[in-house]
Symmetry: C2
Subunit: 216 residues, 2 copies
Amino acid sequence: MIRTGTTVEQMVRAIADMIVTGEMLPGAKLDEVSLAVRFDVSRTPVREALRELGAMGLIAREPNRSAVVTNVTEAYLHSMFEAMAELEAICARLSAERMTVDERRALELEHRESVRLVHAGAEEEYSAHNTEFHTRLYRGAHNDHVFEMVTQTRARLAPFRRAQFRLPGRLAKSYEEHGRIVTAIMRADAAAAGQAAYSHVEIVSDASAVFATPGE
Amino acid sequence: MIRTGTTVEQMVRAIADMIVTGEMLPGAKLDEVSLAVRFDVSRTPVREALRELGAMGLIAREPNRSAVVTNVTEAYLHSMFEAMAELEAICARLSAERMTVDERRALELEHRESVRLVHAGAEEEYSAHNTEFHTRLYRGAHNDHVFEMVTQTRARLAPFRRAQFRLPGRLAKSYEEHGRIVTAIMRADAAAAGQAAYSHVEIVSDASAVFATPGE
DNA sequence: GCATTGCAAAGTGCATACAGATTGATCGAA
DNA sequence: TTCGATCAATCTGTATGCACTTTGCAATGC
């Protein structure tokens, strides 16, 4: 547990982590008193944390009812993946136009070095690299609001694509698609970068469709 | 004041309205006890409302410090307008592809009827029409997550473009730009619709730049 | 046997109270 | 006069307690 920030912020991070890592599955109830006991605080900060998580879209709240981990419908999940593709495309386009020389170099290096993870079949490590790669793309767009939106959307999608790199051949395919994005960005070809990023997410979406819960 | 929902939700709406309508200017402090007195509740629901408003981006909160109405820097404001343009473009593109016949008809009708507001120079009324027009565009995209993002971004930008239709000739220009978007959507020309929507926001951005607070 | 009503247990919504942090002012010393 | 320190006032952060809402079960009536 990170020790920075207020009690509430720590709890928000901790609970968000539990949801994002799959420790708490969609539909799970979040009882205020249980959480208060678990974190050794009173219900007041728990309630504030839940309100924030609700605003983030990670949990659903109704009056006089326990909060539950968001159980998105297939339709909404699809809309999030589509939005994610659009947002990634925006980031890639803007990155192609705006990344500094250093940023471009760092992105390419990050990508090049990940090839050994692909060959080793190191799913966990590649997943970490993948996060880093995409974060560089988001930052490279040099647009703070877009960064916020894409980061939030990514967090909400996280529970639904945990196992994506377990699928056979997905690592190599991901690497190849990253390569296409990197090449376009190095060439400052915004249109190509955008298209490459868009189709990259599209494919991840298909691979993750399995995890969607049947519509409500 | 709307009487639906819990106390906290009512407060969130009420305070958000005050900020968006400009009753509370960026930089204004939101003292918990004052708000509690004002709404005749205790500090507990006030704090929860503030936390939610913070998550919405309308106010900024720091530990042990009063919440203040978000005072965005010029740079961040610019990033929001740029993001808004991208989001509107996405909505316009998707609307061109996905709007039902009824939706297209309704959009065109809405647009056609607004011409009299332009001739009458009815700023207030045109502003209401403008909101309706754009909301139709957002819904027409048939993507719930994009709808959420664009709605939120619009709410955060609201305080900075209150007076946009006061500028001379802005009404007619807005009408003309709407027309270009409508035409493209009726033709199902996604690319043209996207471009028209993008440049529409760009121009609104320029017109509002005056209201940005000098960077922090 | 089934439905309906009443009750109790559990949980959320809000108020109050206290503890800790911050800010500004005042007093003293250089 | 000015700088610094200390203290008081004010405000936020958290705990606790009470009231209301929901829900499941059981008992009673049909």
